[in-house]
Symmetry: C2
Subunit: 190 residues, 2 copies
């Protein structure tokens, strides 16, 4: 499966929420996410455009690998996500394990995310209103589609962005923005 997404800086969540309500999107309860990113022992994920992270949402933990972005106006990449044992102790064990394997902690990205789910042209879409620590407010719109539907999914995503009045997408990931800022509290990237 491919994750296709676009991200936009925004100042006004209220207008966005009104737009999404008009589109009959379902609002989920806001969640606090902490993403702990690691870099590889054999290559630099900043250069290969990959990501490997532990995401903790409350007590729930999951591990995500993201492959290099593929060309196109929206962000398209392989994504593999696997739930691991819940709880802070399991998260710590995970960190210890990947560090034994040679992975290095690069940054922790924390955000409060409000997810809105809706359908368009047979696709399932999500809009995430993200308030990101040290970075500010963003809207991320996302489709998960089979690789064979890549082109069509990208077009739907562009149309939805236009409808929501979203302009000037931010191509960088939150991780890249946090590292670019050299945010205090983030371990230095080697």
């Amino acid at each position: 499966m491919l994750e296709i997404e676009m991200k936009f800086p925004t100042a006004d969540f209220v207008a966005m929420q009104q737009h999404l309500q008009r589109m009959k999107a379902t609002a989920l309860a806001p969640i606090d996410e902490a993403d702990h990113y690691f870099n590889a022992p054999d290559r630099d994920f900043a250069k290969t455009d990959e990501a490997f992270r532990l995401r903790s949402i409350g007590a729930n933990n999951r591990v995500t690998y993201k492959g290099p972005r593929q060309p196109g106006p929206a962000k398209t990449r392989t994504e593999i996500e696997i739930a691991i044992e819940a709880g802070a102790a399991a998260a710590d064990q995970w960190r210890q394990m990947v560090q034994h394997l040679g992975y290095r902690s690069t940054a922790i990205v924390k955000k409060r995310r409000s997810i809105y789910q809706f359908k368009r042209d047979g696709f399932d879409l999500e809009a995430c209103l993200d308030e990101v620590e040290t970075l500010g407010k963003f809207v991320e719109i996302e489709i998960v589609a089979d690789a064979s539907q890549k082109q069509q999914a990208q077009e739907v995503l562009m149309a939805v962005a236009k409808e929501l009045g979203l302009e000037k997408s931010e191509p960088r990931s939150y991780l890249e923005m946090v590292l670019a800022k050299g945010a205090p509290g983030s371990p230095a990237q080697k």
Copy 2:
């Protein structure tokens, strides 16, 4: 925590079971384990004496990292084990993820394991009667102890081995034995 263990080839599980019953060990139901081992992209675990594997017991999956063995008559090493999502699909996702990260499949070790649990001198011990595909029958006795109790735990383990009439321990792991045999069905180690 340290895992301290010794392994012995054996021809006769029946005599061993009688010994363990006299020691009032609790017998668990036999389980079928499939261990899928991977090698690292940045170093050779056969040389660094580490191991990284996915163990599937029925639908349950867990990931294990084992650090280099420490000196001593019994096998003592760091072990980190984390449960991941259950099911064959999650196991496949895991394999895909570590292969994206650069890990290579080295071998799959399959065994039927009958576990006997007992206590000795305040320690929790396990004896595993293992019937290993292509390798035959082995008894593995094991203590998990805090690093501060390493010496004492090793002495208890040696005493239990003697009591069970176990001699000539096998220092190699099942993985090492399978690779040494070049067992058919195991992917070649690069």
